[in-house]
């Protein structure tokens, strides 16, 4: 019974940014669950590798070169999907870019680029895909957001605002599309072991500081995000819409508080006791 609930048998899914990292993990997890997957990104060689792995699982894969910052690319992606599979059941808006910069150094173009790539593109793809989903009276849109959209971490201004906007867009669209049986949800990721964050986790000293601030004391693997996307795409989440699921190992629980994290309860109590004496 549990297995069946996570089935995507007979479904067609679009995953953007599927050439690597979280997007690739989601595309493969969906294929494992029985879906045919349309993989989109700018880098064809890596995208073809993802498609090949999907086909090895016995599913159909369609490669569509897509730059989500270009509106015509998004529209073409939707068109090609409908032409090939006659349906869109799941859309995962995962492709995104991150610019780490002091607000005083972020130029207009940088701001615009972040908002366009990380927020506007999701709106456009969701709008176009939802037209198909409304017609079929079923669908699931999954937006990959970030805890940067809920916790105001420095140096991420435009990225953080785009992600915060994405979280709210998720809710607004969920309210609009619910009556057509289209669910819209977002996943807020923390630290994931991907190319986007390689500068952090590949440096042992920096990694240690980050891990100390995370209650689970480790960063996540892309597969752990993919499993949540799979849950949201499946019937197990049939009553979940407008939800923002935080997948961050507890990082946003108490704010980034590296002091006490990393200690066992007995140790924490000992230190508190000592500080009172």
């Amino acid at each position: 019974m549990a297995k069946i609930q996570f089935s995507l048998e007979g479904k067609t899914a679009i995953v953007t940014g599927a050439s690597r990292g979280i997007g690739k993990a989601i595309a493969l997890a969906f294929a494992d669950a029985g879906a045919d997957v349309v993989v989109a990104s700018r880098t064809i060689p890596d995208l073809e590798k993802t498609a090949e792995e999907i086909r090895l699982k016995g599913r159909h894969a369609l490669v569509v070169k897509t730059d989500i910052s270009r509106q015509q690319d998004i529209e073409s992606l939707i068109e090609k999907t409908v032409k090939e599979f006659h349906s869109i059941d799941i859309l995962v808006n995962n492709a995104a870019q991150l610019l780490l910069m002091l607000p005083s150094m972020l130029r207009d173009e940088g701001w615009d680029k972040m908002i366009n790539t990380d927020l506007r593109s999701c709106f456009i793809s969701s709008r176009e895909a939802s037209k198909v989903m409304i017609k079929n009276r079923r669908g699931s849109i999954i937006n990959i957001g970030s805890v940067a959209g809920t916790m105001a971490v420095p140096y991420e201004s435009a990225y953080a605002v785009a992600k915060a906007g994405l979280i709210h867009l998720t809710k607004v669209m969920a309210g609009e599309l619910g009556h057509y049986n289209v669910r819209v949800n977002s996943i807020e990721v923390g630290m994931v072991r991907t190319k986007m964050t390689e500068g952090v986790w590949s440096n042992p000293q920096i990694a240690k500081i980050f891990e100390q601030g995370i209650p689970m004391h480790r960063i996540s693997e892309p597969e752990e995000i993919a499993a949540v996307a799979l849950f949201l795409a499946s019937d197990a989440a049939s009553y979940v819409t407008g939800a923002s699921i935080c997948v961050d190992g507890g990082a946003s629980l108490a704010g980034f508080n590296p002091d006490i994290q990393g200690m066992t309860l007995p140790e924490q109590y000992r230190i508190h006791k000592e500080s009172l004496e």
Partner: protein, 272 residues
């Protein structure tokens, strides 16, 4: 790590308020996923019904009549579970009561009872089960809050306050137990077809009025809560702790819109 694994094979799960409704649905669902189940509730006949419903899954199911507001009973229940099953892997805090009484009319006993069952009960059970989970350095705790812990209903203030308390209790507990490889999360249901929603379901007109406020246009089946609990109990949620998953068909997105005209959202906004 097989993150898409929804199996609970050989796990030992305690579920409170499992005599009916969401609790029973979780017991059956977890049993189907391979877990051994302890059915905790106050009503013996209802406990027995759940045991019967869960047993056919070829797992061990034990019914235990327990008042979760009493520490001695909770500790004694946990001890019996350890004696019988040797461990505790999962705790689902689900038992709850709701009095539909405005705060200004509520009596002291009603307030106390609400917080005793809905908050203290969760705390006592978490302590009892948590001790074993800390020793094993692994465990899952799932707390049931409610959409009422997020949106303030005018007519059940004590219940709303108790459910808001659970959301924060759950987060605090997650922070405390993270170092012991124990994940703690909350589920906040919306309108579900159970006895607690009896007033809303009493006739077609009332039911439709509520449905018009819900983007998905319907009440949930208890199974749609159980599937989320299963997700949180399994490896598929391995990086999730300290969160609340809202499972409400979208009703809390724009607030419980007390324009109870009965019109659906599209009709209100003149869409298609």
């Amino acid at each position: 790590m097989n993150s898409s694994n929804m199996s609970l094979k050989d796990k030992v799960a305690i579920i409170t308020g499992a005599g009916r409704g969401i609790g029973r649905s979780i017991a059956v669902s977890f049993a189907a996923a391979g877990a051994n189940i302890i059915v905790v509730d106050l009503d013996m006949p209802e406990i027995e019904n759940t045991v019967k419903a869960a047993e056919p899954n070829n797992v061990r199911v034990l019914g235990m009549k327990t008042d979760v507001t009493k520490k001695e009973e909770v500790d004694s229940m946990a001890a019996k579970v350890l004696q019988t099953f040797g461990t505790i892997d999962i705790l689902v805090n689900n038992a709850a009561i709701e009095y539909y009484v405005p705060l200004m009319l509520m009596r002291e006993e009603g307030w106390d009872k609400t917080f005793d069952v809905n908050v203290k009960g969760y705390f006592l059970c978490a302590q009892a089960a948590g001790k074993t989970m800390i020793k094993n350095n692994r465990g899952i705790i799932i707390n049931f809050a409610s959409m009422a812990g997020i949106l303030a209903d005018k007519y059940s203030g004590a219940y709303c306050a108790s459910k808001a308390a659970i959301i924060q209790f759950s987060r605090s507990l997650a922070g405390e137990l993270a170092n012991h490889n124990i994940r703690v999360n909350c589920i906040a249901p919306g309108m579900v077809k159970t006895r607690m929603a009896a007033a809303a379901l009493k006739d077609e007109e009332t039911k439709n009025r509520f449905c018009g406020l819900i983007p998905l246009g319907r009440f949930a089946e208890p199974e749609e809560m159980a599937s989320v609990a299963l997700f949180l109990a399994s490896d598929a949620s391995s990086y999730i702790t300290g969160t609340t998953i809202i499972v409400d068909g979208g009703v809390s997105i724009s607030g419980m819109n007390h324009d109870e005209s009965g019109k659906t959202v599209p009709a209100k906004y003149k869409i298609l």
